[in-house]
Symmetry: C2
Subunit: 377 residues, 2 copies
């Protein structure tokens, strides 16, 4: 039932424990879906329900301990996690806090994600109550540890991202059959979502996009009912998933015909992606890849703030391809290149590809976009 | 573009502000997708990306203030929120904290959700930094306020839940065409997901289920590739969504034939739902509805801990139909009835319906399940 064999999770644990030894962290205390799934293989859509908190403790020595609602026990037992402690949730006054305190009491230093991109997925009042009973425990930021750990993907993870990227590429290859002038944008979204499922995606947690004459104003909107018009550029950006791993890329299509500004922007972004692919080498930094792409785009950057990011068991992960991120690229990192630029005052365009970094440079996981803006006749 | 007219959000604001006056809370400080969407109408799949925090401040007097990454500005401008303050995110060292402090500094008492079912969707280190600059601000728990506010739905919200429940019911009505003996369970999931989209669902964030001989072992698992066998009970439980509102109900189907224990469990759960529908009246409590249902089920409750819950802009909302929840039912509450029971030692069954409470009692939003376990020949 879990997405990977136990050896995959055991290897992740060993890497984490080596870092915990080096950083003198006795245990990791995790509350979010991605962190808990990363170490346990526990995958369920039940995270959609905010009612119940879920906890995983990863000790520096020994195996992970799950402290979870009883409703999750059967599924957790199918993972490699052996130490599962449950309570009947929701509970009138103790939603796991006492169980949790009993586990954490033994540690001097407990690491939690507290930095960039982190969240506390438990009631703050419960976290305060937990700490009241654990004055001797030092809660420290484990963001750098988890970032370093999760940024470099295992072969199994790379295979998982590769599979969903191939699915996304096959769905985009059907664009000519799926989309046409006069079709409502929300119908285009629906049909593309169905195409992703037909091609093998298990879920489509992320599908955004836009259509507009010669470009679009926004890249994170849900679709309107407006029909596609000749001269529109249609963009769809999808984070479909399979076995808990995501693709994250987009494609642009001109409906009927394209104006010169749209064609030129497309070419510039395609070239910016080429520059990013050429710059991304082990030992280079995120900032260097960002600079190589930004140079092609010129000073017309759309203000999105970064030109790519990590990808894996979440739609966006660390690192960021941005000027201030000096993370050194390593073999096994899975990244997106996502150049964007303004077209005139009120439109923009965005491209995106996904790759894994090998010793020889990027290996594309997406079928590379056409070098010229494709036109759907 | 927003899902409702501005008057809907203005009415929510007025109700919240009346409660804030009564509870002496100067402003609400919100960080999660559901809370921010509730007050602003800002809806995007971009919440899938954990990279950027988003903030909405709802003052006791005046209009909401959005403090958000620049990438969301265009979409936020389409909502009724006029005061939008942005920064370029991700930022090297100030992801909205200074902007946020400038807004919150003026308040003596700031309410945040800190209780049951809440989360802090921002880095904890940033929250600590924020408070360091705001020693004069008292951060208090706004869970009771938000719970009371969101539990009672407006006519527009009821219409939204009703629409997605009708979509779910139409998809389940196609079960006889969709599912058959020999079909892999994950293919059944895929085809049901597609059916939901075809019937009008915009997204299917939640689809869980199981199949097993005469019942199933677990209700929150993703599907395996195991084929449906004669004698299996297939259960699918979906939280599809449209305009940001969810249905949450399931259906059971016997493949080929059903054994007597499965048929009997089905009847008991159907009767438990009837008892819940009969008990749910304005003025009664959640605990009373729970008791009415639990009495029908007897002492074979599956340990899930509650027999229903609120439903709306999240898959599960407050209140809970459980013995310790003495919330008084009010007209306009949208609830699920979700009785479950064990079948023998290692199997179970669960039923679920959705209704809105009217002065005369429950008005079902789902097409009521058949009183006898349906068999797919």
């Amino acid at each position: 039932m879990p997405d990977f064999p136990s050896s995959e999770y055991a290897a992740r644990l060993l890497r984490a424990q080596a870092m915990m030894h080096a950083q003198q962290i006795d245990a990791l205390f995790l509350t979010t879906e991605a962190d808990i799934r990363y170490f346990s293989g526990f995958r369920t859509a039940f995270w959609q329900s905010p009612t119940r908190p879920w906890f995983l403790i990863v000790p520096r020595d020994g195996e992970p301990i799950a402290v979870i609602p009883e409703i999750g026990a059967a599924l957790m037992r199918e993972t490699w996690v052996a130490d599962i402690r449950t309570w009947s949730a929701p509970h009138p006054d103790d939603d796991g806090v006492t169980l949790l305190a009993n586990v954490l009491r033994g540690y001097a230093s407990v690491g939690m994600p507290m930095g960039r991109a982190s969240a506390l997925r438990m009631p703050m009042l419960d976290f305060v109550r937990l700490r009241v009973g654990l004055e001797s425990v030092d809660f420290v930021d484990a963001t750098p540890l988890l970032r370093a750990l999760r940024m470099v993907k295992s072969p199994a993870e790379i295979e998982a991202v590769s599979a969903i990227c191939a699915i996304g590429s096959r769905a985009f290859a059907r664009a000519g059959d799926l989309f046409s002038e006069g079709m409502a944008l929300n119908a285009a979204f629906r049909d593309f979502r169905i195409a992703l499922l037909e091609e093998g995606a298990e879920e489509v947690p992320y599908l955004v996009g836009a259509a507009g004459q010669g470009g679009y104003a926004d890249v994170i909107s849900p679709p309107t009912e407006a029909p596609l018009r000749a001269g529109d550029v249609l963009m769809l950006d999808t984070g479909a998933s399979r076995h808990g791993y995501f693709c994250d890329f987009d494609r642009n299509f001109a409906i009927g015909h394209a104006d010169e500004a749209a064609k030129a922007a497309y070419r510039t972004l395609w070239n910016a992606t080429e520059a990013g692919l050429a710059a991304a080498r082990p030992g280079r930094t995120c900032a260097q890849v960002f600079s190589a792409m930004a140079k092609v785009i010129g000073d017309t950057s759309g203000g999105i703030g970064r030109l790519g990011h990590g990808l894996g068991t979440e739609l966006t992960e660390e690192p960021s391809l941005i000027g201030f991120d000096h993370t050194v690229l390593e073999v096994g990192m899975v990244l997106t290149l996502e150049p964007s630029m303004a077209i005139g005052a009120d439109r923009m365009m965005v491209h995106e590809e996904n790759f894994v970094l090998t010793e020889n440079g990027p290996h594309l996981l997406t079928t590379r976009a056409a070098p010229e803006l494709p036109v759907i006749p």
